[in-house]
């Protein structure tokens, strides 16, 4: 049925995920398996090379499958532990923390980490050609998640609006400076570059 899993295109984010699960929750690295979700254009020898590189860097045993997908541009890593129970526990804890954490001022660092990584995974930036307008958008379908994330952002005086399956997040000066201080989109070259382009064009001036 269910499994505890994580799917992402960045090795470093997969590594971070496995490291925190090991250090904070005590789940052994050896419990993980991984697979690759590949675009059908990839050759078998490329798939093997990518899998071996991943296995070597994360020290997860090379026990992988691969599936093809038309929605993946190149490939994505899917790490997982076959445990419905683990999935249920982490989902439950996530829901409680997301809702309750804003009531405790001492957990600001947790909230910052949560927002930055949620945006790294499900966020996107759009800027117009003359760099005068930027949208920071978080894709999120679940209504309770939308409300909780909106409340966490509000804790840092960042406004956001919910439209159907996404949150449209403020790009005012103060919001952008907060995102800059907290390393928004570091790890996602395209979004990070768009973000830096926008703020350097609009908020920094040369004398």
């Amino acid at each position: 049925m269910g499994k505890f899993d994580f799917t992402n295109i960045f090795i470093d984010e997969n590594n971070l995920f496995v490291n925190i699960v090991e250090k904070y929750f005590g789940i052994a690295r050896s419990d993980w398996k991984f697979g690759l979700i590949c675009n059908k254009k990839l050759y078998p020898h490329d798939i093997n090379r990518i899998a071996e590189e991943f296995s070597s860097k994360l020290r997860i045993k090379l026990k992988f499958y691969h599936t093809t997908s038309t929605t993946v541009t190149n490939f994505a890593y899917n790490i997982y532990i076959n445990s419905t129970l683990l999935n249920l526990i982490f989902n439950k804890v996530l829901k409680i923390l997301r809702k309750e954490i804003i009531n405790y001022g001492i957990f600001e660092d947790f909230c910052k980490g949560f927002i930055m990584k949620d945006l790294l995974g499900d966020g996107n930036i759009n800027i117009n050609k003359d760099l005068t307008s930027m949208d920071i958008v978080l894709s999120e379908e679940e209504q309770q998640s939308q409300k909780d994330i909106k409340n966490i952002l509000a804790k840092f005086n960042i406004n956001s609006n919910i439209y159907l399956n996404k949150l449209d997040i403020s790009t005012k000066f103060d919001s952008c400076m907060w995102f800059l201080e907290n390393d928004l989109f570091i790890g996602h070259v395209n979004n990070r570059n768009k973000f830096l382009k926008y703020i350097s064009h609009n908020f920094f001036y040369k004398y």
Binding site: S83, G113, I115
Partner: protein, 57 residues
């Protein structure tokens, strides 16, 4: 069901779960307490964005 125990001077929990249809129960062991800091926030942010969401407890 859940029970706590100590391992290497740290408190852990052992959890069992069975569906209403019965069948095999598997247990898992987790650390009892976690730090609520930037790292755990990053973990749950990644989990929010990129992990599967199934069922309810």
């Amino acid at each position: 069901m859940m029970e706590s125990f100590f391992k290497d001077n740290e408190e852990w929990i052992r959890v069992w779960f069975s569906s209403k249809f019965g069948g095999n129960t598997k247990s898992i062991e987790l650390k009892r307490y976690i730090l609520i800091d930037r790292n755990s926030g990053e973990f749950f942010g990644l989990f929010q964005a990129e992990s599967s969401k199934y069922g309810k407890i």
